[in-house]
């Protein structure tokens, strides 16, 4: 989604992966998101993960709904087919694509608005089907592309300031997914490249639906009143505007902290969130323990990150359906048609 093709400078001595490809071979066109948008950091992590896993670009399909987050598939792996669908309906398109070709690596990128409001039903049912895909929610607590209305997920930038109430009534994709019996559920932060890359790789490797809830600050619309950089502030200091108005130049927020540790991250609006990385000995295979763990940290106002739950034994969509191993779209017509003789035979009973 850009006017300009991205210039590809070939740095001497860049590493090549197992396929002999450079990291830049996994890039897409130039991002048109706001400078400092968390989504761009996630894109970078996806590029790195796919490069490290040496996935053949043409074996990847990348899908999305509508939103700033949903624009990002254009920004990675130009050699992969992409599908920018309609708002909130990415999961169904992914389900169809996977039904037709089970061997393609499928990454679905969505936003909190795209998946938790208009797309909540499809979000839930993609997990229920255990569709073999990486389902990544770039969660900023707002509708970025339509200029900052609050979304159904709690605003990470103001969680610390909000009472239990608002938190309770916000939809938490991680807790919901686990309660609905998802087979892989993780959470990370756009600025934590190391953890993010690891989780993306794990999610792609997982045979089934892998949900990644990635907190991804919106530099433009973290609408916390009083903040000197908030949308409200900008608006009142500007003349009336029919476009977004002034977007202050901002830089990406990053966080690097050890397993088991916690870190307080300051958002663009000056508020902060407390991230808690799962301890090394944390056991993500026990569903009830996980729920208890989430509950405990929620009370402490901490946001647990990491691989929070996984069950590798759950059969994926095709296992449940008993579909042929060979991708359906690769069958010859001769393998699909019963032919005229069978038709004649069949009709004798009619």
């Amino acid at each position: 989604m850009t006017y300009i093709a991205k210039p590809k400078i070939d740095l001497p001595g860049q590493k090549r992966n197992a396929l002999g490809l450079l990291q830049r071979d996994y890039e897409g066109s130039l991002s048109t998101l706001c400078a400092g948008c968390g989504h761009d950091s996630i894109t970078a992590a996806i590029v790195q993960a796919l490069w490290e896993m040496a996935i053949e670009p043409e074996k990847l399909i990348k899908l999305s709904g509508i939103g700033c987050s949903s624009k990002t598939p254009a920004y990675f792996v130009h050699g992969a087919h992409g599908f920018n669908s309609v708002h909130g309906r990415m999961p169904s398109v992914a389900a169809g694509a996977h039904a037709g070709h089970r061997d393609l690596v499928c990454i679905g990128v969505s936003g909190d608005g795209d998946s938790l409001s208009i797309g909540f039903g499809q979000f839930g049912h993609a997990l229920r089907r255990n569709l073999n895909m990486l389902y990544l929610i770039e969660n900023n607590g707002v509708y970025g592309l339509t200029k900052g209305q609050f979304s159904a997920s709690a605003d990470p930038g103001s969680k610390a300031k909000k009472g239990e109430v608002n938190h309770m009534q916000s939809i938490n994709p991680v807790a919901t997914a686990i309660a609905m019996g998802a087979s892989f559920v993780g959470r990370s932060f756009s600025g934590d490249r190391e953890q993010l890359v690891a989780l993306i790789k794990a999610g792609i490797a997982h045979k089934g639906a892998a949900l990644l809830d990635v907190i991804s600050p919106c530099v433009t619309f973290n609408d916390h009143v009083g903040s000197t950089k908030s949308y409200a502030y900008t608006r009142e200091h500007m003349y009336r505007t029919s476009e977004t108005g002034f977007v202050p130049p901002a830089t990406e927020i990053t966080a690097d902290y050890p397993e088991g540790g916690t870190v307080r991250v300051t958002m663009h609006d000056g508020s902060s969130i407390l991230l808690k990385k799962a301890d090394p000995d944390y056991d993500p295979t026990n569903r009830s323990k996980t729920l208890r763990y989430l509950e405990k940290h929620r009370h402490k106002g901490e946001i647990p990150t990491g691989l929070l739950f996984i069950d590798d034994d759950l059969p994926d969509m095709h296992a449940i359906a008993g579909t042929a191993k060979k991708p359906l779209r690769d069958f010859e017509y001769s393998e699909l048609t019963p032919g005229s003789a069978a038709l004649a035979k069949l009709q004798r009973s009619m």
Binding site: M1, T2, P57, E58, K59, I61, L63, P73, A74, H78, G79, A80, H81, G82, F83, N84, S85, V86, R89, P91, S92, V93, A94, A95, G96, A97, H98, A99, G100, H101, D103, L104, G121, Q122, H125, R129, M317, H318, A321, G322, T323, A324, K325, L328, R329, F331, Y333, E335, L336, T337, P338, G339, S340, A342, L343, A344, L346, Q347, S349, M350
Partner: protein, 605 residues
Amino acid sequence: MSATQSRINDFVLKIATVNGTGSASANSLVMKALFRMGIPVTGKNLFPSNIQGLPTWYEIRANKDGYMSRSGRVDVMVAMNAQTYSKDLKEVSPGGFLVYDSTWPRSHMLARDDITILGVPLSKLCNEHFSVARIRILMKNIAYVGVLAALLDIDLDVFRTLLEETFAAKPKLVDGNLDAIMLGYNYAKENFTCPLPVRAEKMGDNAGKILIDGNAAAGLGFVYAGATVGAWYPITPSTSLMDNFKTFCEMFRTDEVTGEKRYCIVQAEDELAAAGMVLGANWVGARAFTPTSGPGISLMSEFIGFAYYAEIPSVFVDVQRVGPSTGMPTRTQQCDILLCAYASHGDTRHPLLFPADPSDCFNMAVQAFDLAERLQTPVFMLSDLDIGMNDWMVSELKWDDSYQPDRGKVLSSEDLDALDKFVRYTDFDGDGIPYRTLPGVNPKGAYFVRGSGHNRQGGYTEDSLEYQDVMDRLLVKWDTAKTLVPTAVLTPASKKTKLGIIAFGSSHGAVVEARDHLAERGIHADYLRLRAFPFGAEVEEFLASHETIFVVEQNRDAQMKSLLMLETQTNSSKLSSILHYNGMPLPSDCIVAAIGAHIESEAAA
């Protein structure tokens, strides 16, 4: 009482029961028996949107001349439902017969002196003969089959054969059912003069004919079309289409050794999701379709517009039911034509196919995919409840083993290597159809499918000219579509005439019969049966060459006439609508009446 002239192999038998009592099986036993006797038959189910306890009717027309539509008369009524008894009584044509369960006296029974009323104590007979409660209810229905066998002179051996075929597995069920049949048969023989003047008579064996409903035929058609992915959300009257597709896939697409399935059916969470799945599967190159009905099309509208603009082949089947809204889910109409033709916001238009009977459903299932992939656009097959769920007698389905699917303009990996750059939305051939690529083939073929503004290369754009360029090409593609869809079928009148009739879909049978009756009255009309939208040259031709054209359709707002007004050059004052939209399958007599009246008024004027 008025004399009954004899009606051999030309009568309508209507059976009124309560749903959930298993009468359906008894009814189709009678239906099949008549069929086996070589008599052309059709059966219409009139059932409620409910599972148990509400009125349901089954109407069988036996007609030696092979007329397939409803005729508007009832010669023999089997009134098993106290709730609707008086209504059913009224419906019997003068000189006709009514059979009812006389176990209990009918307090509210109304008499009629112009028909013959025959009471048979069916419950009593069954209760005396069978012990188990459930069996009694079941057998009461089988028993009236026996009564009809006697009254209509249906060969008992035929019933035995049918039962043996069905219960091959459990022979004792055969005897049980036969006992019940004999109960009714004997009672009728002893108490009435059998057979009635209204009766059946063996006239062949209907060789080369089959009994089938449209949803079964369509389900089978999609197997032959090579469809591998079916996505759906249950909705009457389309549900049995996917049920049938599943059955036939289990039959023909399951690996004998591994049990692996060469198909994938996904029950979606709703119609929006079903549409998304169809787009996703077709995008990766698997033939995928979804069957639904009106409400589903409304919900799929957003995705349909996406498929039109992003040019993704896809097949939608709308088994139409009575609208608007939930309407009458178990009644028939042709009421989604305008919606499907222009579904979704913005400037959009979609090819439509109009099957007239189950064999069309079979063939058009295949055509729909060839068109969708050739044109890279969503294609709709507009069936309806009458075609989809009722029992039709049609010629045996044929298949040409030389058929190969038309996948349209798909570039192979080699094709791509030969190109220096792939562009998705450019018209190289002047037919408005661009070239597409499939995921998983070649990185050179990669592009980004989007419903947002794009240019002929496939890149995102907000540029006025680039946007308009693509929109204008889509109109060229539309013109190409006119040359690819099935042409309309012309049936000339026996005499030269300025009168024309245009009809389509399930109205066909009624029009055929009506034309014969009108011809007897000296009214001759050429007949054009539409099979698709957009309209080809032959439709313009027909419109131009007739002075008065009756457009017969099963909706209130003359939706097909609207399409003719919008998409042809014709002068709308020539078009005269014959509209039938009460939910019942179109009877031939209403066409005869309408055209007759029109002609007379013209004459008078």
